[in-house]
Structures are given as structure tokens and as C-alpha cells.
């Protein structure tokens, strides 16, 4: 969260990890050091986060406290709540309007798409006025949408002629915000199609682009705008006792071009002011420079966290000598097993996993399957639950495109794929292989059944090619043939979700006042919580379950 103190707006990092259970503050609240911010589920133990002490003469000193779980018992697993650095990754990358990629001659600026399902926002702050020069990328207003307050950058450059909106007004996508002086060209801005379904630009990324645009507008290179620091000569050893203005015994660094207040701010938010690039005259470091540096640091830290050491290459604790306790055999793990180990470790380390469980009543679906079975057999395939699941998932992915996406942390973008290729985990004697069926949404159930049978056979016969296992956008894994009532599959990175099917069994279901024997299929959906919220996952899986339960919809589609 961001906190406004009397010093500055600071980003407060969480000092606990886990899934947020309950948020106990709201925006606009005054928050005291020590106040509980949210409770989190942390390996079963609940933890509370509280703001760490701010260096304020007025703030009562407060640091770590023993934390208590909501039930009142000591939460042994709760970590000490002292953030190492009071700056945190902005977890909510607010949806931002799409931005122009190059300078465009335009006579007006219209509000562009703000993000998924957001068609309007309230104008909270206007940053331009008639006669003001704007350049592409420069923030022109703050808009409050249902999701967040976003800064809207201009996608045009020129001098503002007329501002067509007022603070407090609700503004719709496509609405004209301001016009430019003396530009005769057509409003290209308004008609330019948005790239992809939605492009998310985070605050920092936006700020960087804005900065680049601004210095481009000034005709400077980034190097000129941000001259590299002067090399600092080695501090001279203190020698002359009469020399004043230097402190003996303390490590002495050359004076940094930042005012005492700015240096104190840096110290308080954990930034080494000597590392900060000053954007002021003569390289003077402003408060904003310090904050920008802090943000950049956080991004770097977040990026580093997102890119752990190469999967499978972690430094693992040394193994004991098992032979001490009995006979052992060492077998090479090269090949599929090693690949699997590496890949799954990478997935596990990259993706914050959550698994959603649900059940589908497939009594009716069984009848459908029986009906299609001969057809499929004729075509050389087998009508399995997996084949039907392919069809169901393809339909679901169209409704929920974020399950058919990939996160690009480096670019701070989400990549939505406009094709649906679904991998199906196949258990072979070489290990786990995942052949991918392409364009699942464009194929009917019989075609899918046939292709699945063929690919699975190829996998088992070791005839499958690498190309046939690439390009998946989603994965299905069916352990029902073996048994089980549910499991937590690992997302197949860089995909963002995987559906696991367990053994279906006949269970008594309470229907219309009596128990009826129904065939129930357990569903387990693991997903990347960075991209997918819990509620969306629940909705997605419910949608899938209902699709299984109303097979006529599928049969209509063939």
C-alpha cells in the first residue's frame, strides 16, 4: 500500500507473506504505527501486518511484536514484522490506457481504453490547462476507476488549446479530453485500435516512458538529461589534526549534492543517497529523485525475485551418505525426468500457486459420451472424459481470456493469446510428457478424441516430436484412470492455469428432496495467483463444471 506521512508518500511493503484473508484498513484511513493492516494465511498460521515504525519524533516507537492469530493463539509461524526496506513492489499495476508507440500528429486527445471492463472513470485531478505544452507520455490527469486511481499520459504532443473536461466529472472511454492548438491533422488518436485486448502499463513503466518522452521533446538524449555521476576519488585519509571541516575516524565520502532534508528522507526509506541520480541542476538530487530511485530498486528486487536461479540449479542442501544405512542404487536422472524436475521446479518457484477444487455432476455427460463413443471409434479415437474436457476448457478459455495468457514481468505486460492450444499430460514409461493439441476451439469432440488418442500413442511410442509438445496455452491432467479424489497440479509455466481431473464416482446427491445416485467428477484447478484472482478462478471452474453438467451445449457445438 502507499502511505502518506508528513514526510512523503511511502510504499509500505508487507513484512509477512501469505494469502491476504482480511483487509482491515481502507483508503483514506489514518494509520498508526502498529496498527493491523491485514491478516494473512501463512501456512495455516495467520499473521497480521502492521506498519513498521516511521522515523518520526511524534510516532511512538514500535517495532516488531509477537503476533497473534485471530483465534488468539500465538502464531508460531509468523515472521518478525520488520520490513528490511520500507519500499514495496506495487502489486497492483493499475490498468492504464493504451499508449501511442510513436509521436502522432493529432489535434485532440481522447480517453483511450482504460482496461478490462472499465469504461469510465472520475476525473480527480487535471494536470493541464489551455496554453500548456504537453508531450507524449506526460501525465495529463488522474482518473479514478473502479479499480484504482490511474495517471493518464498524453499520447499527443503540442500546446493545449481547450480542455473539455472538469475535475469531478465522469469521463468515458473515447471522450475528448483536450484539443491542441493549430493542428489540422485528423484525430488519429481516437481511431487507432488498441493493441491486444488490454495493455497494462504499470505506474513506473509509465513514468519511465513519460520521462523518455519528455527528454525527447527537449531534444536531449537520456545521457544528457541524466549525466553520469562524476567519478568519486578515493577519500583521502585524515591526517592533519588542525584540518577542520572533516571528521576524523568516520568514513568520509565526498559531499553528495542533496539537501539535508533529502538525505534524511533517503536514509529513512532505506536508499543510499550516493546511488541516486540527481536530475536537478548540477546533478542536484531532489526528493522526487530519491523516491524514483526507491521505486526502481523495488522493481529490480521484484524482478530478481521473479527470476530465481535457473530452475533445477538451486543449491540444495548436501545429501547424507545413504549407503550408511543400507544398500542403494544410483540411476542417472538425465532425459525426461531431469527436464521434468527442472521445469516443475521453475514453475513452482515462479508461480504463486493456488488450487481451486470443485465437482461436476457428469451423469448426463456419460450418456453423451456413450453416444459419441462409436463415432469416435469409427474415426480411430477414443471418446474419453479428457477429450470432452478439452472441448469444455476451450470454450471456458474463450470466456475467461486471462486463463489463456502469460505474464511478462520484464516488460510488465500480460500476453493474451488469441489461440487455444491445450496440452494434455500423458503418463508414459519415460515419464511425464505433455503433447499439445492445437486450435482446440476449432475442432469438434470427435476430432479431438481422435487427435488425442493419436498423440498419446505417439508419446508412449517415443515418436512424439518436440514441436508437438510446444505452444500450449493451458494444460489438462487426468489422473482419474488411476484414482484419487483431488490433487494440486503444478501450473505448466509459462501458462497460468492447469485443470486436474480425478476419478469420477457415483455418489448420493440431494436432488429434489431425495438422494439420487449421480456420477461426480472432481475438478482441481491450479492457477497463477499473480494474474488470476481467487474469485475468477472459482468462476472459471464453476463454468467448467456447469459445462460438464449441461452437455447439450457442447453437443450443439458438436
Amino acid at each position: 500500500m502507499e502511505l502518506e506521512t508528513d514526510k512523503a508518500v511511502v510504499e509500505v511493503p508487507s513484512s509477512v507473506s501469505g494469502t491476504i484473508k482480511e483487509i482491515l484498513v481502507k483508503e483514506g484511513d489514518k494509520i498508526k504505527v502498529g496498527q493491523v493492516i491485514f491478516t494473512a494465511d501463512n501456512n495455516g498460521a495467520a499473521a497480521v501486518a502492521e506498519p513498521a515504525r516511521k522515523a518520526e519524533p511524534s510516532s511512538k516507537g514500535a517495532t516488531a511484536t509477537p503476533v497473534q492469530s485471530p483465534s488468539g493463539e500465538r502464531a508460531a509461524a509468523a515472521t518478525k514484522l520488520q520490513p528490511s526496506s520500507p519500499v514495496a513492489p506495487t502489486s497492483q499495476s493499475a490498468p492504464q490506457p493504451t499508449r501511442a508507440t510513436g509521436p502522432v500528429a493529432a489535434s485532440e486527445f481522447r480517453l483511450q481504453e482504460l482496461g478490462e471492463n472499465i469504461s469510465e472513470g472520475e476525473l480527480v485531478r487535471l494536470m493541464i490547462a489551455p496554453g500548456v505544452k504537453v508531450s507524449e507520455g506526460q501525465p495529463v490527469m488522474e482518473l479514478e476507476t473502479e479499480k484504482a486511481v490511474v495517471e493518464v499520459p498524453s499520447s499527443v504532443s503540442g500546446v493545449v488549446n481547450e480542455v473539455k473536461v472538469k475535475e469531478g466529472e465522469k469521463i468515458k472511454v473515447g471522450q475528448v479530453i483536450f484539443t491542441l492548438q493549430g493542428s489540422a491533422s485528423s484525430p488519429t488518436e481516437a481511431v487507432r485500435p488498441a493493441r491486444g485486448p488490454v495493455e497494462h502499463v504499470s505506474g513506473q513503466h509509465g513514468a519511465r516512458l513519460a520521462f523518455q518522452a519528455a527528454i525527447r521533446a527537449e531534444g536531449k538524449t537520456e545521457e544528457q538529461a541524466l549525466p553520469p555521476d562524476q567519478p568519486r576519488p578515493h577519500p583521502a585519509a585524515f591526517s592533519m589534526p588542525a584540518q577542520l571541516g572533516k571528521v576524523a575516524g568516520t568514513e568520509h565520502r565526498e559531499a553528495v549534492p542533496a539537501a539535508p532534508h533529502t538525505r534524511r528522507l533517503a536514509r529513512e526509506i532505506g536508499v543510499d543517497v550516493y546511488e541516486v541520480k540527481g536530475t536537478g541542476p548540477g546533478g542536484r538530487i531532489s526528493e522526487d529523485d530519491v523516491k524514483a530511485h526507491a521505486k526502481a530498486l523495488v522493481t529490480a528486487v521484484a524482478a530478481a525475485a521473479q527470476a530465481p536461479p535457473r530452475a533445477g540449479h538451486f543449491i540444495e542442501p548436501k545429501l547424507p551418505d545413504f549407503a550408511k544405512w543400507g544398500k542403494i542404487e544410483r540411476v542417472s536422472m538425465r532425459g525426461v525426468r531431469r527436464k521434468t524436475a527442472e521445469h516443475l521446479a521453475e514453475s513452482w518457484n515462479t508461480i504463486p500457486h493456488v488450487t481451486q477444487q470443485d465437482r461436476a455432476d457428469i451423469t448426463e455427460l456419460e450418456q453423451l459420451r456413450a453416444r459419441f463413443a462409436p463415432k469416435a471409434e469409427q474415426a480411430g479415437g477414443k471418446m474419453t472424459v479428457t477429450a470432452i474436457a478439452l472441448k469444455v476448457c476451450a470454450a471456458a478459455l474463450k470466456v475467461f481470456p486471462q486463463f489463456n495468457a502469460t505474464i511478462d514481468m520484464e516488460e510488465e505486460e500480460i500476453i493474451y493469446k488469441q489461440y487455444i492450444h491445450i496440452g494434455v499430460a500423458a503418463d508414459t514409461d519415460r515419464g511425464l510428457l505433455v503433447p499439445v493439441i492445437r486450435d482446440v476451439d476449432k475442432k469438434n469432440i470427435v476430432e479431438l478424441a481422435v487427435e488425442l488418442s493419436q498423440l498419446s500413442q505417439k508419446a508412449r511410442d517415443k515418436k512424439i516430436t518436440l514441436a508437438e509438445m510446444e505452444g500450449g496455452t493451458f494444460t489438462i491432467t487426468n489422473l482419474g484412470g488411476i484414482g484419487g479424489t483431488g490433487f494440486t497440479p503444478i501450473v505448466n509455466h509459462p501458462e497460468v492455469a492447469i485443470l486436474g481431473l480425478s476419478r469420477s464416482r457415483t455418489e448420493p446427491e440431494w436432488i429434489a428432496g431425495k438422494f439420487e445416485p449421480r456420477l461426480i467428477l472432481p475438478l482441481s484447478l491450479s492457477y497463477d495467483h499473480r494474474l488470476i484472482d481467487g474469485a475468477d478462478a472459482a468462476r472459471f471452474l464453476r463454468w467448467v463444471a456447469e459445462a460438464f453438467e449441461q452437455p447439450f451445449l457442447l453437443s450443439v457445438q458438436g
Binding site: A55, V67, G72, Q230, P233, G249, E268
Partner: protein
């Protein structure tokens, strides 16, 4: 569901209890630390042998010396006024009254500090402190009783004392250190000042003004070692007129009681044979100061004392013993009151848990002679030693209207500027009132001001402060009152 959490203050068992702090030494470092700690809601005990806080600075340092220097300046000006058509008879000096006045200044200020301690509920114990362990002090009170008290944190601000060189160990009332000189027992006919640092020159000036023939010996080739030579030069010229002699590159080989005075033997190439031995009514030894780090029982703590006797501290002024902080003269150069106070405040805040550090960009130094010499930040001498590229812009006071109205054109203001960023890295001033003027330089450096910032700031006319602005204009070659034809 979720209980409101009560968080205890860092390091204390109960949050209701205030942090207990002891400050050992009531000088400008100690009382500044004690007062801020009290303001930050700590329970503070301040320990010093004097009746009131003040330390060296108020009792036998900055304050009494400045009071006497004010008198010296008046005497000097009353003589200079001859040039302006105003003639005074030679001054009649009532030494007892002068001493009383000086002491009243000290009393007023130290009494005020005692008052401020009471108002802040700082417990003031008159006595000397020794360590029983890292957090326990055994205090021998001036009334001969003893108390043993425990604290959460202890700040050492024990200051410094005049250094004594073995050669000068002489049991003679004629031999003085700065404290003795400030006592002003008499106006000696002749005075030898050993050491050409600021204390020697300041006190030498006082005695010279009162009518004493003053000789200064300095081992190094110049007065005020460490200061830029161009700043020292106008002072040197004036002192040459005021003093009987200034002997540079000269050491004192011996001092001997000799009936009516102290006979000194000098060594050094600059000394002429006939001057090798001279007798003085009094001798002031001002060859530096030694930190008071020999605090009884200090070995029971983890405090580390460095090779030159300074207590070692980090940027939070914390010693190697986490419960003990140290500030002021006892932790290192520059041994100046304002450095001590600033450190005291940093230590108090650090103890309060604030993220602070003693990291000034500039510490001003002022020599209160006439003319005064003041500087801050980078000096030319230092830049040369560090091989740093700098540009120096100087404004001579001969071009300052104000300096001329004061009949004091013997001054100069200079800026030391980074040629690439044009940032002001250092400021040096010599001239009447330079000590007051230097504050602008300190602010400029702390704010990372550029030469243009200073040049474009309107300064009041006619004041000496204009010399700061005009030196910045000199940097750009556009000073109003200095014409430098452009070359080539």
C-alpha cells in the same frame, strides 16, 4: 477477532516506561543531546562537575574567549579611528571589572542552561561519572556523596582538555594553558604563545590588544595549519603589526624558570642567533587538545578508544558498546562546539530509533581573530591533496562598498566550485565579520547550490554578504565590481 496490538518501545520491557538516558559531560555536545533526548520523551540524567551545563565551550572556551575578543576589537578600533578623525586617549583598563564582565557572560549563559534543564525535567547531577559496567554509572558528586545509577543508554560527551607536551612541563604560575590565559590574572609585559593554531592566535590577540608584547612560535611553515594560505595571509599581515614577532618553522626546545620570567630556547632555521633565547613574563601553551577518553571504568565496557585517544563511533555515534554513544571532542576532529551539538542531536535521535546519521556536507570553522578567517566544505589545500579538479572564484573586499565604509578592505571571499557541475563545494572568507558570513556558504553547500544560484540571489546592499554573491559572479566573469578583461 483481531486484537489491537500494543507494541512495546524498542528495547524496553514495558512500553509505559521511558528510556533512561545518561549524558556524561555537560558541554555543547552533552547538553544538546540531553535536551533533545528529553524532548523525545526520554528520562534524562546529565552529569558534569560544574554547577551548570556548559562545558569547556561556555566556562573556558568559546564564550569567554569571544567576550574578550570583543573587547580587543573595540580597543583596536578605537586606535584605528584616528584615521577617521576621531582620537581617543589610550584606554584605561580595569582588569577586575573586565574579568567580572566576562564571568557574568559565562554565568548568564550557563545559568540559562541550568534553567532549560529544569524546564525539560533533565536531572542534573553535579559530579564525575565512572563506569561500573556498560549501563551502570558510579557518580562521585561534588558534595562528596556517591550514587550508582543504571541506564538504558549512556552518551559520553566528556570533551577534551589542553594537550601538554613533556618539554613544557614546568611547575610555574607563569606557564598557562588556554584556561589560565582566559583567567586574565594580569596583563603581562610579554607573552610567548606556543602554537599558531586558532586558540593561540585568538588569545594572543586579546593580550596584544590589552598591551602585551606577544611572540608566537609555530613549528609549521604557516599560521593556522590546514587553512588555505590565501585566507591566512591578510590575518598574518595584520598580526605582524599587532604582535612583536611571529616565528614560523620554529620549535621551542626548552622552557626554564628564570627569576623574573620564563626563558625559552628556540630551534629552527628561521630563528636568528640573537633571538635564540628570550625571556617572557608568561607563556601560553596552545599546541592542541586531547580527548577526555580516560573515563574511569571504561574498560568494563566494550567501548573502543582509537590510537589518538578518540572514542571510536559509527555514523550514529554509537560506540563498539551498543549501549554507549559518544559525541563531541571526545570522538574526533574537528573539535568544535557546533560539531559537538550536531552530533549530540544525532545521537539522541538515533537512540530514539530514528534513521539518522552524522553526515554533514560542510562543517564551518571560524577563527575569531581580527580579521576573522572562516571556511567550510572543500578547501583548496584539500582539493590539491586529493587532486580534485576545481575552479576558484575570489572577490577582493577592496571592491566591496561595505568593507570600504568600515575601513576594512583587508578581506577576501572565495568560492571553490566544481567546474563541471558548477556546484559550490567550498567557501572561504577572510575579513571583518567573516564568521557571520560563512553560514551562507554552509547552507549553499548543504543545499547543493550552484554558483549561479548564489549569483542570482539578491543580497542586501551595502553589506559584506554581497561579497559572497559577487564571488559567484566572478566565477562567471561578470562581477559588477570587479572588471576582468577577457583574454584572447
Amino acid at each position: 477477532m483481531n486484537e489491537t496490538l500494543i507494541t512495546p518501545l524498542d528495547g524496553t520491557p514495558e512500553d509505559a516506561e521511558k528510556l533512561r538516558i545518561a549524558v556524561v559531560g555537560g558541554g555543547p555536545g552533552g547538553y544538546a543531546a540531553a535536551f533533545l533526548a528529553a524532548d523525545l520523551d526520554m528520562q534524562v540524567t546529565l552529569i558534569d562537575p560544574e554547577a551548570n551545563p556548559g562545558g569547556v565551550c561556555l566556562y573556558r572556551g568559546c564564550i569567554p574567549s569571544k567576550a574578550l575578543l570583543h573587547v580587543a576589537k573595540l580597543i583596536e578600533e578605537s586606535q584605528q579611528s584616528k584615521n577617521w578623525g576621531i582620537e581617543f586617549p589610550p584606554p584605561k583598563i580595569d582588569l577586575a571589572r573586565l574579568r567580572t564582565w566576562k564571568e557574568s557572560v559565562v554565568k548568564k549563559l550557563t545559568g540559562g542552561l541550568g534553567q532549560l534543564s529544569k524546564q525539560r525535567h533533565v536531572e542534573y547531577i553535579q559530579g564525575r561519572a565512572a563506569f561500573d559496567n556498560s549501563t551502570t554509572l558510579r557518580i562521585s558528586k561534588t558534595d562528596n556523596s556517591e550514587v550508582v545509577l543504571s541506564f538504558d543508554r549512556i552518551i559520553l560527551a566528556t570533551g577534551s582538555r589542553p594537550a601538554i607536551v613533556p618539554v613544557f612541563k614546568l611547575d610555574s604560575p607563569r606557564l598557562m594553558d588556554s584556561t589560565g590565559a582566559l583567567n586574565l590574572e594580569d596583563i603581562p609585559g610579554s607573552l610567548l604563545v606556543v602554537g599558531g593554531g586558532y586558540i593561540g592566535l585568538e588569545l594572543g590577540s586579546v593580550y596584544a590588544a590589552l598591551g602585551t608584547r606577544v611572540t608566537v612560535v609555530e613549528m609549521l611553515p604557516g599560521l593556522l595549519p590546514g587553512a588555505d594560505r590565501d585566507l591566512v595571509l591578510p590575518l598574518h599581515k595584520r598580526l605582524e603589526k599587532m604582535f612583536a614577532a611571529i616565528l614560523l618553522n620554529t620549535t621551542v626546545a626548552s622552557l626554564k624558570e628564570d627569576g623574573g620570567g620564563i626563558r625559552a630556547t628556540f630551534e629552527g632555521t628561521a630563528v636568528q642567533e640573537k633571538d635564540r633565547e628570550q625571556t617572557f613574563d608568561r607563556v601560553l601553551v596552545s599546541v592542541g587538545r586531547k580527548p577526555n577518553s580516560e573515563i574511569p571504568g571504561l574498560h568494563t565496557t566494550q567501548v573502543h578508544v582509537g590510537p589518538r585517544g578518540f572514542i571510536e563511533v559509527n555514523k550514529q555515534l554509537q560506540t563498539a558498546d551498543p549501549a554507549i554513544y559518544a559525541i563531541g571532542d571526545v570522538v574526533g576532529e574537528p573539535m568544535l562546539a557546533h560539531k559537538a551539538s550536531h552530533e549530540g542531536r544525532v545521537a539522541a535521535e538515533a537512540i530514539a530509533g530514528h534513521k539518522v546519521a552524522f553526515e554533514p556536507n560542510a562543517i564551518p570553522a571560524v577563527v575569531f581573530t581580527d580579521p576573522e578567517v572562516a571556511w567550510c566544505g572543500l578547501t583548496e589545500t584539500q582539493a590539491e591533496k586529493e587532486k580534485r579538479e576545481i575552479k576558484v572564484a575570489k572577490f577582493p573586499w577592496g571592491a566591496s562598498g561595505r568593507a570600504v565604509t568600515l575601513d576594512r578592505p583587508d578581506g577576501m571571499t572565495k568560492l571553490i566550485v566544481d567546474p563541471h557541475t558548477e556546484r559550490v563545494l567550498g567557501v572561504g572568507i577572510v575579513g571583518a565579520g567573516a564568521g557571520e558570513l560563512i553560514a551562507e556558504g554552509v547552507l549553499a553547500i548543504e543545499m547543493a547550490a550552484l554558483a549561479s544560484d548564489i549569483a542570482m540571489t539578491i543580497h542586501p546592499h551595502p553589506t559584506l554578504s554581497e561579497t559572497v554573491m559577487e564571488s559567484a559572479e566572478v566565477f562567471f566573469g561578470t562581477s559588477t565590481h570587479v572588471f576582468r578583461p577577457k583574454h584572447g
